[in-house]
Amino acid sequence: MVTPLLSFDFGQFLPPMLRGAGVTVTLVLAAGVAGTIIGLVFGVARSAPLAPIRWLASVYINFLRGIPILIILLFLYYEIPLLFPYATFSQTLTAVIGLSVYAGAYMAEIFRGSIQAIPRGQLEAGEALGLNYLQKMRYVVLPQAMKIAVPPGIGFLIALVKASSLVSVISATDLTRAGRIITSQNHAPLSTFLVVAALYFVISYPLSLFGRWYERRLA
Protein backbone atom coordinates (compact mmCIF):
# COMPACT_ATOMS: atom_id res chain seq x y z
CA MET A 1 0.00 0.00 0.00
CA VAL A 2 1.39 3.36 -0.98
CA THR A 3 1.06 5.62 1.98
CA PRO A 4 -0.02 9.02 0.74
CA LEU A 5 2.08 10.70 3.43
CA LEU A 6 5.28 9.96 1.57
CA SER A 7 4.33 10.89 -1.95
CA PHE A 8 4.84 14.27 -3.49
CA ASP A 9 3.62 15.11 -6.95
CA PHE A 10 6.33 17.47 -8.16
CA GLY A 11 4.64 18.09 -11.50
CA GLN A 12 1.52 19.42 -9.87
CA PHE A 13 2.79 21.03 -6.71
CA LEU A 14 6.30 22.26 -7.38
CA PRO A 15 5.20 25.34 -9.35
CA PRO A 16 3.01 26.77 -6.55
CA MET A 17 5.72 25.88 -4.08
CA LEU A 18 8.31 27.77 -6.12
CA ARG A 19 6.01 30.74 -6.35
CA GLY A 20 5.74 30.70 -2.56
CA ALA A 21 9.52 30.51 -2.38
CA GLY A 22 9.66 33.52 -4.71
CA VAL A 23 7.42 35.45 -2.33
CA THR A 24 9.62 34.47 0.60
CA VAL A 25 12.76 35.63 -1.21
CA THR A 26 11.09 38.92 -2.20
CA LEU A 27 9.91 39.52 1.35
CA VAL A 28 13.34 38.86 2.81
CA LEU A 29 15.14 40.99 0.24
CA ALA A 30 12.77 43.92 0.64
CA ALA A 31 12.69 43.71 4.42
CA GLY A 32 16.43 43.10 4.52
CA VAL A 33 17.16 46.29 2.61
CA ALA A 34 14.55 48.38 4.44
CA GLY A 35 15.54 46.87 7.80
CA THR A 36 19.19 47.72 7.18
CA ILE A 37 18.31 51.33 6.47
CA ILE A 38 16.03 51.57 9.51
CA GLY A 39 18.65 49.79 11.59
CA LEU A 40 21.36 52.17 10.44
CA VAL A 41 19.29 55.20 11.41
CA PHE A 42 18.32 53.84 14.81
CA GLY A 43 21.73 52.28 15.45
CA VAL A 44 23.39 55.66 14.88
CA ALA A 45 20.66 57.41 16.87
CA ARG A 46 21.31 54.96 19.70
CA SER A 47 24.85 56.34 20.02
CA ALA A 48 23.96 59.97 19.29
CA PRO A 49 25.28 62.71 21.55
CA LEU A 50 21.76 63.90 22.43
CA ALA A 51 20.11 61.90 25.21
CA PRO A 52 16.48 62.21 24.01
CA ILE A 53 17.41 60.82 20.60
CA ARG A 54 19.26 57.92 22.21
CA TRP A 55 16.30 57.31 24.46
CA LEU A 56 13.74 57.30 21.64
CA ALA A 57 15.84 54.91 19.61
CA SER A 58 16.24 52.55 22.50
CA VAL A 59 12.50 52.49 23.12
CA TYR A 60 11.90 51.47 19.52
CA ILE A 61 14.63 48.84 19.58
CA ASN A 62 13.79 47.30 22.92
CA PHE A 63 10.06 47.24 22.44
CA LEU A 64 10.10 45.59 19.04
CA ARG A 65 12.71 43.08 20.13
CA GLY A 66 10.49 42.10 23.04
CA ILE A 67 7.38 40.93 21.21
CA PRO A 68 6.92 38.10 18.71
CA ILE A 69 6.93 38.99 15.03
CA LEU A 70 3.59 37.18 14.88
CA ILE A 71 2.02 39.82 17.08
CA ILE A 72 3.65 42.65 15.11
CA LEU A 73 2.21 41.29 11.87
CA LEU A 74 -1.29 40.79 13.28
CA PHE A 75 -1.25 44.28 14.71
CA LEU A 76 -0.18 45.89 11.45
CA TYR A 77 -2.63 43.91 9.40
CA TYR A 78 -5.77 44.19 11.46
CA GLU A 79 -5.39 47.12 13.77
CA ILE A 80 -3.54 49.80 11.87
CA PRO A 81 -6.35 50.03 9.26
CA LEU A 82 -8.83 50.55 12.09
CA LEU A 83 -6.78 53.37 13.53
CA PHE A 84 -5.60 54.85 10.22
CA PRO A 85 -8.00 53.87 7.44
CA TYR A 86 -5.66 55.17 4.75
CA ALA A 87 -2.91 52.81 5.83
CA THR A 88 -4.73 49.76 4.51
CA PHE A 89 -2.05 47.83 2.68
CA SER A 90 -2.15 44.52 0.88
CA GLN A 91 -1.03 41.31 2.56
CA THR A 92 2.35 41.31 0.87
CA LEU A 93 3.01 44.97 1.56
CA THR A 94 1.97 44.54 5.18
CA ALA A 95 4.27 41.56 5.45
CA VAL A 96 7.15 43.65 4.07
CA ILE A 97 6.41 46.52 6.44
CA GLY A 98 6.09 44.18 9.43
CA LEU A 99 9.30 42.32 8.66
CA SER A 100 11.07 45.63 7.99
CA VAL A 101 10.28 47.26 11.32
CA TYR A 102 11.15 43.99 13.03
CA ALA A 103 14.42 43.70 11.12
CA GLY A 104 15.09 47.39 11.77
CA ALA A 105 15.09 46.83 15.52
CA TYR A 106 17.48 43.89 15.31
CA MET A 107 19.77 45.52 12.77
CA ALA A 108 19.87 48.66 14.91
CA GLU A 109 21.17 46.59 17.77
CA ILE A 110 23.78 45.02 15.52
CA PHE A 111 24.91 48.42 14.25
CA ARG A 112 25.03 49.81 17.74
CA GLY A 113 27.31 46.96 18.76
CA SER A 114 29.62 47.46 15.81
CA ILE A 115 29.75 51.21 16.33
CA GLN A 116 30.75 50.61 19.93
CA ALA A 117 33.41 48.18 18.80
CA ILE A 118 35.28 50.96 16.99
CA PRO A 119 38.10 52.11 19.28
CA ARG A 120 37.45 55.44 20.96
CA GLY A 121 40.75 56.67 19.63
CA GLN A 122 39.35 56.67 16.11
CA LEU A 123 36.63 59.10 17.14
CA GLU A 124 39.09 61.25 19.02
CA ALA A 125 41.43 61.38 16.08
CA GLY A 126 38.51 62.49 13.88
CA GLU A 127 37.54 65.01 16.50
CA ALA A 128 41.07 66.38 16.77
CA LEU A 129 41.10 66.85 12.99
CA GLY A 130 38.01 69.04 13.25
CA LEU A 131 35.46 66.63 11.74
CA ASN A 132 31.93 67.21 13.06
CA TYR A 133 29.69 64.46 14.47
CA LEU A 134 28.12 63.46 11.18
CA GLN A 135 31.44 63.57 9.35
CA LYS A 136 33.05 61.37 11.99
CA MET A 137 30.20 58.90 11.64
CA ARG A 138 30.14 59.00 7.87
CA TYR A 139 33.85 58.83 7.11
CA VAL A 140 35.47 57.24 10.14
CA VAL A 141 33.08 55.12 12.18
CA LEU A 142 30.47 53.69 9.83
CA PRO A 143 32.81 52.34 7.15
CA GLN A 144 34.58 50.35 9.85
CA ALA A 145 31.41 49.44 11.72
CA MET A 146 29.72 48.17 8.56
CA LYS A 147 32.49 45.67 8.10
CA ILE A 148 32.08 44.37 11.63
CA ALA A 149 28.31 44.29 11.20
CA VAL A 150 28.36 41.98 8.19
CA PRO A 151 28.65 38.60 9.94
CA PRO A 152 25.95 39.25 12.56
CA GLY A 153 23.90 40.99 9.87
CA ILE A 154 24.04 37.87 7.70
CA GLY A 155 23.13 35.83 10.75
CA PHE A 156 20.09 37.97 11.24
CA LEU A 157 19.14 37.75 7.57
CA ILE A 158 19.07 33.98 7.96
CA ALA A 159 16.81 34.41 10.98
CA LEU A 160 14.68 36.71 8.85
CA VAL A 161 14.26 34.05 6.17
CA LYS A 162 12.82 31.84 8.84
CA ALA A 163 10.81 34.50 10.61
CA SER A 164 9.21 35.30 7.27
CA SER A 165 7.46 31.92 7.52
CA LEU A 166 5.16 33.58 10.02
CA VAL A 167 3.64 35.98 7.49
CA SER A 168 1.24 33.17 6.73
CA VAL A 169 -0.75 34.38 9.74
CA ILE A 170 -1.88 37.35 7.69
CA SER A 171 -2.60 35.05 4.78
CA ALA A 172 0.31 36.16 2.64
CA THR A 173 1.12 33.22 0.40
CA ASP A 174 4.78 32.63 1.16
CA LEU A 175 6.61 29.33 1.02
CA THR A 176 5.15 28.03 4.28
CA ARG A 177 1.60 28.92 3.41
CA ALA A 178 2.05 27.45 -0.03
CA GLY A 179 3.02 24.24 1.75
CA ARG A 180 -0.09 24.36 3.90
CA ILE A 181 -2.36 25.00 0.94
CA ILE A 182 -0.80 22.08 -0.88
CA THR A 183 -1.29 19.75 2.06
CA SER A 184 -4.98 20.63 1.97
CA GLN A 185 -5.02 19.06 -1.47
CA ASN A 186 -2.55 16.19 -1.28
CA HIS A 187 -2.96 15.36 2.43
CA ALA A 188 0.75 14.55 2.58
CA PRO A 189 2.28 16.84 5.20
CA LEU A 190 5.48 14.89 5.72
CA SER A 191 6.68 14.89 2.13
CA THR A 192 5.30 18.34 1.46
CA PHE A 193 7.09 19.89 4.39
CA LEU A 194 10.29 18.05 3.61
CA VAL A 195 10.20 19.83 0.27
CA VAL A 196 9.38 23.10 2.02
CA ALA A 197 12.30 22.62 4.40
CA ALA A 198 14.60 21.82 1.49
CA LEU A 199 13.57 25.02 -0.29
CA TYR A 200 14.19 27.09 2.83
CA PHE A 201 17.58 25.50 3.07
CA VAL A 202 18.31 26.38 -0.55
CA ILE A 203 17.39 30.01 0.13
CA SER A 204 19.22 30.34 3.40
CA TYR A 205 22.35 28.20 3.08
CA PRO A 206 24.09 30.41 0.51
CA LEU A 207 23.71 33.23 3.02
CA SER A 208 25.41 31.09 5.66
CA LEU A 209 28.21 30.27 3.27
CA PHE A 210 28.67 33.90 2.35
CA GLY A 211 28.71 34.90 6.01
CA ARG A 212 31.36 32.33 6.81
CA TRP A 213 33.47 33.26 3.80
CA TYR A 214 33.29 36.91 4.75
CA GLU A 215 34.25 36.22 8.34
CA ARG A 216 37.27 34.25 7.22
CA ARG A 217 38.24 37.05 4.88
CA LEU A 218 38.02 39.58 7.70
CA ALA A 219 40.20 37.53 10.04
Binding site: P119, G121, E124, A128, L129, G130, N132, Y139
Partner: protein, 250 residues
Protein backbone atom coordinates in the same frame (compact mmCIF):
# COMPACT_ATOMS: atom_id res chain seq x y z
CA UNK B 1 71.33 89.99 9.82
CA UNK B 2 71.07 91.76 13.05
CA UNK B 3 67.42 92.23 13.83
CA UNK B 4 66.90 91.48 17.49
CA UNK B 5 64.80 88.42 18.27
CA UNK B 6 61.16 89.50 18.36
CA UNK B 7 59.42 89.31 21.72
CA UNK B 8 57.92 85.85 21.76
CA UNK B 9 54.22 85.42 21.02
CA UNK B 10 52.46 83.12 23.48
CA UNK B 11 50.85 80.28 21.52
CA UNK B 12 49.41 78.25 24.35
CA UNK B 13 48.49 79.73 27.66
CA UNK B 14 47.02 77.76 30.53
CA UNK B 15 46.04 79.46 33.74
CA UNK B 16 44.78 77.89 36.94
CA UNK B 17 43.32 74.92 35.10
CA UNK B 18 41.20 72.54 37.18
CA UNK B 19 39.67 69.33 35.93
CA UNK B 20 37.66 66.67 37.70
CA UNK B 21 36.48 63.25 36.65
CA UNK B 22 33.51 62.78 38.91
CA UNK B 23 34.93 63.34 42.35
CA UNK B 24 38.51 62.77 41.35
CA UNK B 25 40.41 66.02 40.83
CA UNK B 26 42.97 65.24 38.17
CA UNK B 27 44.29 68.72 37.41
CA UNK B 28 44.67 70.93 40.43
CA UNK B 29 45.45 74.36 39.10
CA UNK B 30 47.88 74.17 36.22
CA UNK B 31 49.73 77.17 34.81
CA UNK B 32 51.68 76.63 31.64
CA UNK B 33 52.80 78.62 28.66
CA UNK B 34 54.21 77.67 25.28
CA UNK B 35 55.66 80.39 23.04
CA UNK B 36 55.60 80.36 19.30
CA UNK B 37 58.27 78.06 17.81
CA UNK B 38 58.95 76.61 21.22
CA UNK B 39 59.13 72.89 22.03
CA UNK B 40 57.96 71.96 25.51
CA UNK B 41 58.22 68.42 26.86
CA UNK B 42 55.89 67.28 29.59
CA UNK B 43 57.14 64.48 31.82
CA UNK B 44 55.85 62.85 34.95
CA UNK B 45 54.67 59.59 36.46
CA UNK B 46 51.71 57.65 35.13
CA UNK B 47 48.38 59.09 36.24
CA UNK B 48 49.82 62.50 37.01
CA UNK B 49 47.46 64.13 34.50
CA UNK B 50 49.71 64.72 31.48
CA UNK B 51 47.26 63.36 28.93
CA UNK B 52 44.39 65.16 30.55
CA UNK B 53 46.23 68.47 30.39
CA UNK B 54 47.04 67.94 26.73
CA UNK B 55 43.46 66.98 25.94
CA UNK B 56 42.14 70.08 27.67
CA UNK B 57 44.30 72.17 25.36
CA UNK B 58 42.18 71.37 22.31
CA UNK B 59 39.03 70.71 24.31
CA UNK B 60 38.88 66.98 23.68
CA UNK B 61 38.20 67.21 27.38
CA UNK B 62 36.06 69.83 29.09
CA UNK B 63 37.39 71.60 32.15
CA UNK B 64 35.49 73.38 34.83
CA UNK B 65 37.77 76.07 36.16
CA UNK B 66 40.63 78.11 34.74
CA UNK B 67 41.59 79.55 31.39
CA UNK B 68 43.07 78.07 28.25
CA UNK B 69 44.01 80.07 25.16
CA UNK B 70 45.60 78.33 22.20
CA UNK B 71 46.61 79.84 18.86
CA UNK B 72 44.52 82.86 19.68
CA UNK B 73 41.37 80.91 20.57
CA UNK B 74 39.90 81.23 24.00
CA UNK B 75 38.66 77.81 25.11
CA UNK B 76 36.99 79.02 28.24
CA UNK B 77 33.22 78.94 28.36
CA UNK B 78 31.06 78.22 25.32
CA UNK B 79 31.88 75.61 22.73
CA UNK B 80 31.39 77.88 19.72
CA UNK B 81 34.87 78.05 18.25
CA UNK B 82 35.84 74.41 18.79
CA UNK B 83 35.90 73.78 15.10
CA UNK B 84 38.42 76.56 14.48
CA UNK B 85 40.58 75.38 17.39
CA UNK B 86 40.82 71.88 16.01
CA UNK B 87 41.84 73.29 12.66
CA UNK B 88 44.73 75.21 14.18
CA UNK B 89 45.97 72.56 16.63
CA UNK B 90 47.22 69.18 15.47
CA UNK B 91 47.27 66.19 17.80
CA UNK B 92 49.12 62.89 17.74
CA UNK B 93 48.17 60.02 20.05
CA UNK B 94 49.96 57.14 21.69
CA UNK B 95 47.84 54.61 19.80
CA UNK B 96 48.34 56.02 16.35
CA UNK B 97 44.63 56.07 15.49
CA UNK B 98 45.19 56.10 11.77
CA UNK B 99 42.00 55.22 9.92
CA UNK B 100 42.47 51.56 8.99
CA UNK B 101 39.86 51.51 6.23
CA UNK B 102 41.55 54.25 4.20
CA UNK B 103 44.75 54.22 2.23
CA UNK B 104 47.52 56.34 3.65
CA UNK B 105 46.88 59.11 1.15
CA UNK B 106 43.17 59.18 1.99
CA UNK B 107 44.01 59.43 5.68
CA UNK B 108 45.86 62.59 4.80
CA UNK B 109 43.29 64.15 2.47
CA UNK B 110 40.07 63.47 4.42
CA UNK B 111 40.12 66.32 6.92
CA UNK B 112 41.57 68.98 4.58
CA UNK B 113 38.79 68.20 2.07
CA UNK B 114 35.94 67.94 4.54
CA UNK B 115 36.97 70.55 7.09
CA UNK B 116 39.05 73.04 5.13
CA UNK B 117 37.03 72.35 1.96
CA UNK B 118 40.06 72.40 -0.29
CA UNK B 119 39.90 70.53 -3.58
CA UNK B 120 40.88 66.88 -3.91
CA UNK B 121 43.76 67.76 -6.23
CA UNK B 122 45.17 70.29 -3.85
CA UNK B 123 44.69 67.99 -0.86
CA UNK B 124 46.56 65.25 -2.71
CA UNK B 125 49.46 67.51 -3.57
CA UNK B 126 49.72 68.63 0.01
CA UNK B 127 49.52 65.01 1.20
CA UNK B 128 52.28 63.85 -1.12
CA UNK B 129 54.55 66.64 0.02
CA UNK B 130 53.99 65.62 3.63
CA UNK B 131 54.59 61.94 2.90
CA UNK B 132 57.84 62.99 1.29
CA UNK B 133 58.72 64.79 4.49
CA UNK B 134 58.02 61.79 6.74
CA UNK B 135 59.68 59.42 4.29
CA UNK B 136 56.62 57.46 3.22
CA UNK B 137 55.96 58.50 -0.38
CA UNK B 138 56.08 54.90 -1.52
CA UNK B 139 53.38 53.92 0.96
CA UNK B 140 50.78 56.43 -0.25
CA UNK B 141 48.51 53.78 -1.71
CA UNK B 142 48.92 51.18 0.99
CA UNK B 143 46.45 50.45 3.79
CA UNK B 144 47.80 51.26 7.28
CA UNK B 145 47.40 47.64 8.35
CA UNK B 146 50.42 46.83 6.20
CA UNK B 147 52.66 49.34 7.93
CA UNK B 148 54.87 48.98 10.99
CA UNK B 149 54.03 50.92 14.13
CA UNK B 150 56.64 53.53 13.40
CA UNK B 151 55.33 54.03 9.90
CA UNK B 152 51.77 54.34 11.16
CA UNK B 153 52.79 56.97 13.64
CA UNK B 154 54.56 58.91 10.91
CA UNK B 155 51.33 58.75 8.91
CA UNK B 156 49.46 60.09 11.93
CA UNK B 157 51.89 62.99 12.20
CA UNK B 158 51.59 63.76 8.50
CA UNK B 159 47.80 63.58 8.80
CA UNK B 160 47.84 66.19 11.55
CA UNK B 161 50.23 68.38 9.55
CA UNK B 162 47.94 68.24 6.52
CA UNK B 163 45.64 70.63 8.36
CA UNK B 164 48.56 73.09 8.49
CA UNK B 165 48.22 73.56 12.21
CA UNK B 166 49.89 76.36 14.08
CA UNK B 167 50.77 74.11 17.01
CA UNK B 168 51.08 70.37 17.59
CA UNK B 169 50.28 68.29 20.66
CA UNK B 170 51.92 64.89 21.07
CA UNK B 171 50.78 62.39 23.70
CA UNK B 172 53.49 59.75 24.19
CA UNK B 173 53.86 59.29 20.44
CA UNK B 174 56.50 56.58 20.75
CA UNK B 175 55.48 54.55 23.74
CA UNK B 176 53.48 52.00 21.76
CA UNK B 177 56.37 51.39 19.36
CA UNK B 178 59.00 48.68 19.01
CA UNK B 179 62.30 49.97 20.36
CA UNK B 180 63.69 49.86 16.86
CA UNK B 181 61.12 52.14 15.26
CA UNK B 182 61.09 54.73 18.01
CA UNK B 183 64.02 56.46 16.36
CA UNK B 184 62.35 57.11 13.03
CA UNK B 185 59.40 58.83 14.69
CA UNK B 186 61.56 60.95 16.97
CA UNK B 187 63.54 61.91 13.88
CA UNK B 188 60.46 63.25 12.16
CA UNK B 189 59.52 65.17 15.30
CA UNK B 190 62.97 66.64 15.60
CA UNK B 191 62.83 67.92 12.01
CA UNK B 192 59.48 69.45 12.75
CA UNK B 193 60.91 71.20 15.78
CA UNK B 194 63.81 72.51 13.74
CA UNK B 195 61.42 73.95 11.17
CA UNK B 196 59.94 75.99 13.97
CA UNK B 197 56.70 74.18 14.80
CA UNK B 198 55.27 75.03 18.19
CA UNK B 199 55.06 71.70 20.04
CA UNK B 200 53.93 70.32 23.34
CA UNK B 201 55.14 66.74 23.81
CA UNK B 202 54.27 64.25 26.52
CA UNK B 203 57.05 61.70 26.44
CA UNK B 204 59.09 59.15 28.33
CA UNK B 205 61.98 59.53 25.90
CA UNK B 206 64.38 61.51 28.04
CA UNK B 207 66.97 61.54 25.27
CA UNK B 208 64.57 63.38 23.01
CA UNK B 209 63.53 65.78 25.75
CA UNK B 210 67.12 66.58 26.55
CA UNK B 211 68.09 67.18 22.96
CA UNK B 212 65.06 68.82 21.39
CA UNK B 213 63.06 70.51 24.14
CA UNK B 214 63.42 74.20 24.88
CA UNK B 215 61.76 73.63 28.18
CA UNK B 216 60.72 70.62 30.27
CA UNK B 217 57.71 70.56 32.60
CA UNK B 218 57.53 67.96 35.32
CA UNK B 219 54.04 67.12 36.51
CA UNK B 220 52.99 65.03 39.47
CA UNK B 221 49.61 64.44 40.99
CA UNK B 222 47.82 67.12 38.99
CA UNK B 223 50.25 69.98 39.46
CA UNK B 224 53.32 71.26 37.62
CA UNK B 225 56.01 70.59 40.19
CA UNK B 226 58.96 72.03 38.37
CA UNK B 227 59.97 73.42 35.00
CA UNK B 228 63.03 74.70 33.24
CA UNK B 229 65.53 74.02 30.47
CA UNK B 230 66.22 70.30 30.06
CA UNK B 231 69.77 70.62 31.30
CA UNK B 232 68.57 72.03 34.56
CA UNK B 233 65.71 69.59 35.07
CA UNK B 234 67.75 66.53 34.29
CA UNK B 235 70.97 67.50 35.97
CA UNK B 236 69.87 69.62 38.89
CA UNK B 237 66.28 68.83 39.65
CA UNK B 238 65.19 71.02 42.52
CA UNK B 239 62.19 69.19 43.79
CA UNK B 240 62.50 65.83 45.49
CA UNK B 241 59.57 64.33 43.55
CA UNK B 242 61.38 65.20 40.34
CA UNK B 243 64.53 63.62 41.68
CA UNK B 244 62.69 60.45 42.69
CA UNK B 245 61.01 60.20 39.31
CA UNK B 246 64.17 60.73 37.31
CA UNK B 247 66.13 58.26 39.37
CA UNK B 248 63.62 55.57 38.51
CA UNK B 249 63.39 56.28 34.84
CA UNK B 250 66.91 57.10 33.71
Amino acid sequence: MSTPPPTPTVMINVEDLHKKFGDLEVLKGIDAKVNEREVVCLIGPSGSGKSTLLRCMNRLEDFHRGQVTICGHDLTGSRTSLHAVRRDVGMVFQSFNVFPHMKVIDNLTLAPMKVLKISRTEAKQRAMALLEKVGLVDKAHVYPGKLSGGQQQRVAIARALAMEPKAMLFDEPTSALDPETVGEVLGVMQNLAEEGMTMMVVTHEMGFAREVADRVLFMDNGVVVEQGPPKQIFEQPQHERTQAFLSKIL
